[in-house]
């Protein structure tokens, strides 16, 4: 029996390939990402180790706050601390280190290098002590005047710069100005490594000036005298300087490694999601393939049963086939994943040093590939296997090649149960009850999706196929009619072939709708509340402090300008009872840390805007105000009404707020306003903002500009453009451009999501191609007959292509409907919590494009089976059985 199964399997190698290919792709993605992330975190860890390798102890401020983007923010230390640390016993040398983002490099094309993605540009100060210096000098010497800098070799190479060349740097102090490259550095003993970060090393004074932190360092690094361990050194410093935070060099490095590997982890999770999507799609394809194969083998199976094979033997034989397919697919998938990881590592090695471009094949990954590959395949083959065992021996003499059985009652019950369960899961998930709302919603959606595809699909496949075929058979075209009937003939198979596509399209539709709704909402909110004619904004969201400090004043001088209102962003922590209760993470104290622990009390972190109260409410419509903008003096804030109501705040209340720069401060609520713009639930007048913010945040992020009535707006725009022409980090936007820039990151995110979901759709199409190949095989005789009575090759091809189009349209429409329903449910749920926050909007054009692309792709998927069918020998086909 087993021999028979294997013989059959290898006799049909092409089928083996098409069955397994979906699994191969899924596994490739899963293992590829895992291999990549293992290699990446290894590389990154060793690189970060190189950066701070000379440090035995680090002394820094205990004043810190977590940020949503991973890197905590922290206050600086005074220059005087360096000598204090140096004076501690056991310290060989101590230096102040400047390390901060801020100024940006301007490339040869006049644009900011990096553009907001990937590793940042960081400012460092030159450190004389070679043991404590970050990296080593490969060429040239240290910066000795304010105009001189050292950059790393990779930055130099990528910009084509050499020693002695000038490099343009955008700063808030002087706009864009040239610095002279006097040295080229790199990490590691020989300076041959790079983390991908673009370090620029200035003289200490210049670095401090550019970051608005004169006489301040970001931390102090110390080196031990010979024979002193890091732990002893740190302990001694901690004892002497209890008000500062002290870490061993190792702990400091570990902390940095931890932060970077978080990014790698997120990347890994993000990409593995698509591996899982691919696998779910694969399950449908394998299930369908096995179903068809087993139906086609009915006679053979019946014959085996007739000559004495037991039901068990029949099941075992099928499962064995599945195991072989799974094993082969897992092996190829692993190989493909390895290739993928290698390729990505190669690409990434262009950006930073990677210890080895060959990923290390971890045992866990191999086991994962095999378990998932075989598991998924066997799982999808179980039901067809059981069904095949039910073939009665008498079927050997009857002719049933197509599964025409009705949808069984138990199937309907299971389907209904899945839908009800799915709805319940989503409901509880959205209501935030249960262990993991996100998984609940996802799992519920999947349950509904599966049941709709497996139960509803077959029920409606027949009429829908005929309806879709109708336009193709207009004018009595027989090929359209035949295609429609072929799709309708086995609704279960048509539905299953389409199900994979349905899943892909559902996801794409859902994401497209949610994204367009978010964009529409932002659009609505901004265009209805922002009264400004122009917004001067930083070119990328990550470039803090790119707008020169005197810009707002200069803009006021432009004729025709009425109001000029700059805004700034910061993070603060609310310490009111609601904030304290909702504190999620008490700042963790890393191992190896001595001295003062982080001083941030538990509370709720939130964004706040720094505004000019005299002009803000004129440029942004904030609805009704309780209290007057004039009351917004130092030590006060304005709060959005809903936010205030939830917390029970009233005008006049004083709220304890933690600022990283200044610690806990009482802030009085002076104004409550009705409508907010974006993240701005809390507005701090600059009088409150400036003294309480780190220098990094204490620069304008955006400047709103209104024009006088009747002013020549084109002239104003021209004047604004002229003013910022030389500063690539700043862009002048009209309201429409501003809206676009605010929603731009959504587009980038969407681009990635679309690309990866495209993969799921490609796999789904392989499924359609597979189903059609098998159907064509099964209908050989019929097709031969059609050819015999005069169907041309082209007509035959067209018939099969139309059938593919019908399946694709069917799958796409189901996906579209489910996606729209899901998106609708989601936005209703969101709106229940936050009325008015999400405007449900159907991106009609995008959805039409999705339908068109999926349909065309479906037809493309059928090209090969159609071509093969049209090439077959008519006589052989007619006489085949």
């Amino acid at each position: 029996m087993i021999r028979i199964a294997l013989k059959d399997l290898f006799a049909r190698k092409r089928r083996l390939v098409t069955t397994g290919i979906a699994v191969v792709l899924g596994i490739a993605f899963l293992t590829g990402t895992q291999l990549l992330s293992v290699s990446l975190s290894d590389s990154i860890k060793s690189l970060v180790g190189d950066v701070y390798s000379g440090f035995d102890a680090v002394v820094r401020s205990p004043r810190t706050q977590e940020t949503p983007f991973g890197q905590p923010i922290r206050t600086q230390v005074p220059a005087g601390l360096v000598d204090q640390v140096a004076a501690v016993d056991g310290v060989g040398a101590a230096v102040g280190v400047v390390e901060s983002p801020g100024p940006e490099i301007v490339g040869n094309d006049g644009k900011v290098v990096g553009g907001g993605f990937g590793p940042p540009t960081l400012v460092y100060n030159w450190i004389d002590d070679e043991g404590l210096r970050i990296g080593s000098l490969r060429q040239g010497g240290p910066p000795t005047t304010a105009e001189q800098i050292v950059i790393d070799f990779r930055t130099a190479d990528s910009l084509g710069k050499q020693l002695g060349d000038e490099l343009s740097i955008a700063t808030t102090q002087d706009g864009v100005r040239p610095y002279q490259i006097v040295g080229i550095s790199g990490l590691g003993d020989d300076g041959s490594q790079s983390t991908g970060v673009r370090p620029i090393t200035f003289t200490t004074a210049e670095a401090q000036r550019l970051l608005n932190q004169p006489d301040q360092f970001n931390f102090v690094a110390a080196r031990a005298i010979d024979g002193e361990t890091q732990a002893d050194l740190a302990a001694r410093i901690g004892e002497e300087l209890p008000e500062w935070q002290v870490l061993t060099g190792e702990a400091f490095t570990a902390e940095n490694q931890e932060q970077i590997s978080q990014f790698v982890d997120i990347l890994e999770i993000f990409v593995s999601v698509f591996g899982y999507v691919a696998l779910i799609v694969a399950i449908f394809i394998i299930y369908n393939t096995f179903s068809i194969i087993i139906t086609q083998r009915t006679r053979e199976t019946a014959l085996l049963r007739a000559v004495g094979a037991t039901r068990r033997q029949v099941i075992v034989a099928t499962l064995l086939e599945a195991i072989v397919v799974g094993l082969v697919a897992a092996t190829f998938g692993l190989a493909a994943g390895f290739a993928l990881a290698t390729l990505l590592l190669r690409v990434l090695s262009g950006f930073f040093t990677i210890s080895s471009t060959v990923p290390s094949l971890a045992g866990g990954v191999v086991v994962l590939a095999v378990v998932i590959g075989v598991g998924v395949t066997v799982l999808s083959a179980v039901i067809p296997a059981i069904r095949s065992s039910k073939v009665p021996p008498v079927a050997a003499i009857t002719e049933v090649a197509v599964d025409r059985t009705a949808i069984s009652v138990s199937r309907r019950i299971w389907g209904a149960a899945l839908v009800v369960g799915g709805v319940a899961l989503i409901g509880t998930g959205l209501a935030q009850t249960g262990p993991n709302p996100l998984y609940q919603v996802g799992g519920g959606a999947l349950a509904i999706l599966v049941s709709v595809a497996v139960i509803l699909g077959p029920l409606i496949a027949r009429p829908v196929s005929r309806a879709i075929a109708a336009p193709f058979s207009l004018g009595g075209l027989i090929d359209g009619r035949l295609a429609g009937e072929n799709a309708a003939r086995s609704p279960k198979r048509t539905a299953a072939a389409a199900a994979a596509l349905t899943i892909g399209v559902t996801l794409v539709t859902l994401i497209a709708i949610v994204a367009s709704s978010i964009k529409a909402s932002a659009d609505d909110a901004i265009s209805s509340s922002v009264k400004a004619d122009f917004v001067v904004a930083t070119a990328s969201l990550t470039s803090f402090g790119a707008i020169p400090a005197d810009s707002a004043d200069a803009i006021r001088e432009i004729p025709g300008v009425a109001e000029v209102s700059p805004i700034r962003f910061t993070l603060l922590r609310l310490l009111d009872p609601v904030g304290v209760a909702s504190a999620t993470t008490a700042t963790t104290v890393p191992a190896g840390q001595l001295g003062a622990p982080s001083d941030a009390p538990p509370g709720e972190d939130t964004f706040a805007l720094g505004i000019d109260p005299a002009s803000w409410f004129d440029v942004v419509d904030s609805g009704g105000l309780e209290g007057s903008p004039e009351d917004l003096t130092a030590g006060t804030m304005a709060v959005e009404r809903k936010f205030a109501t939830e917390r029970g705040w009233r005008v006049g209340d004083t709220i304890p707020v933690y600022f990283v720069a200044t610690g806990v401060q009482p802030v009085r609520v002076a104004v409550i306003y009705d409508e907010q713009l974006g993240q701005g639930s809390i507005l701090l007048p600059l009088a409150t903002f400036e003294p309480n913010s780190l220098p990094l945040f204490n620069t304008d992020s955006q400047i709103f500009v209104t024009t006088e009535p009747g002013a020549d707006t084109a002239a104003v725009k021209a004047a604004l453009d002229a003013q910022f022409a030389d500063i690539p980090t700043v862009s002048v936007q009209d309201l429409q451009e501003y809206i676009q820039s605010q929603t731009g990151p959504i587009n980038v995110f969407l681009g990635i999501v679309y690309a990866l979901l495209g993969l799921a759709i490609v796999i789904a199409l392989i499924g359609i191609a597979n189903t059609l190949s098998l159907s064509v095989l099964e209908r050989t005789r019929e097709l031969g007959l059609l050819r015999a009575v005069g169907m041309t090759r082209w007509q035959l091809r067209r018939t099969i292509l139309i059938e593919a189009a019908i399946i694709a349209v069917f799958g796409t429409l189901m996906g579209l409907v489910i996606g729209i329903v899901f998106a609708g449910a989601l936005s209703v749920a969101i709106a229940a919590d936050n009325p008015g926050i999400l405007t449900f909007q159907l991106p009609v054009v995008q959805l039409l494009v999705i339908v068109a692309v999926a349909t065309i792709a479906g037809v493309v998927a059928a090209l090969l089976p159609a071509w093969r069918a049209s090439r077959m020998n008519v006589l052989e086909a007619v006489s085949s059985s």
């Binding site: 009595g476 075209l477 007959l785 009575v789 005069g790 169907m791 041309t792 090759r793 008519v874």
Partner: protein, 249 residues
Amino acid sequence: MSMTTTPSGTAAAGAVDAVKVYGTDDTEVRALDGVTIDFERSRFTAIMGPSGSGKSTLMHCLAGLDRLSAGRVRIGDVFLDDLSDAKLTELRRDKVGFVFQAFNLIPTLSAAENITLPMDLAGRKPDAAWMDQIINIVGLADRLSHRPSELSGGQQQRVAVARALVSRPEIVFADEPTGNLDSRSGHEVLGFMRYAVSDLNQTVVVVTHDPNAAAYADRVVFLADGRIVDQMENPTAERIIDSMKQLGG
């Protein structure tokens, strides 16, 4: 009795020195070994011969379903040997009707749709009067909307013959059309073909093993080892059986 007939202008189809070789060298089979024959218009011809004598091969080559190794075949005035696949397909659709032993119908189409299939493929409307006439004769008027699976074997073969006739082809070939039928259904099908020749002026060629079936024909051609070995005009079942005994012995 002459072993061969010379092609004449009035023939609906014919072959000259038709040779069909399968396989190569040691496995070589000469399925047709120099067959020259004409099928005159409005006549009913039966082809008989032992299994493997090349009957089906001859039909397939004549009907444009297969190509000869040597020699020529023609339908009407058109020689098939140098036609492209597309032209050959068109010719099958418009000039030839074909009935197989079984599995003649597309399961997803109704009887009526199966009958008009060649016309639909050509994008032409069937001649309504002609169509009605055929349907009435085959006696399927009340079965037209049925799917093949809802028809008996005999009914299915009658639908197939109707389909073969619907486009008024030059010639209809039927390869053992009654082979799978009981004798009553078989006679219905043959009677219908006889009627098509006598009353509708169609040309029909049938392969059969059954002397009673062959007796419906105007002429019987005997094949053996890929050659024509005998012919008989206005046959009766007894004469056919006699002739077969002679050839066999």
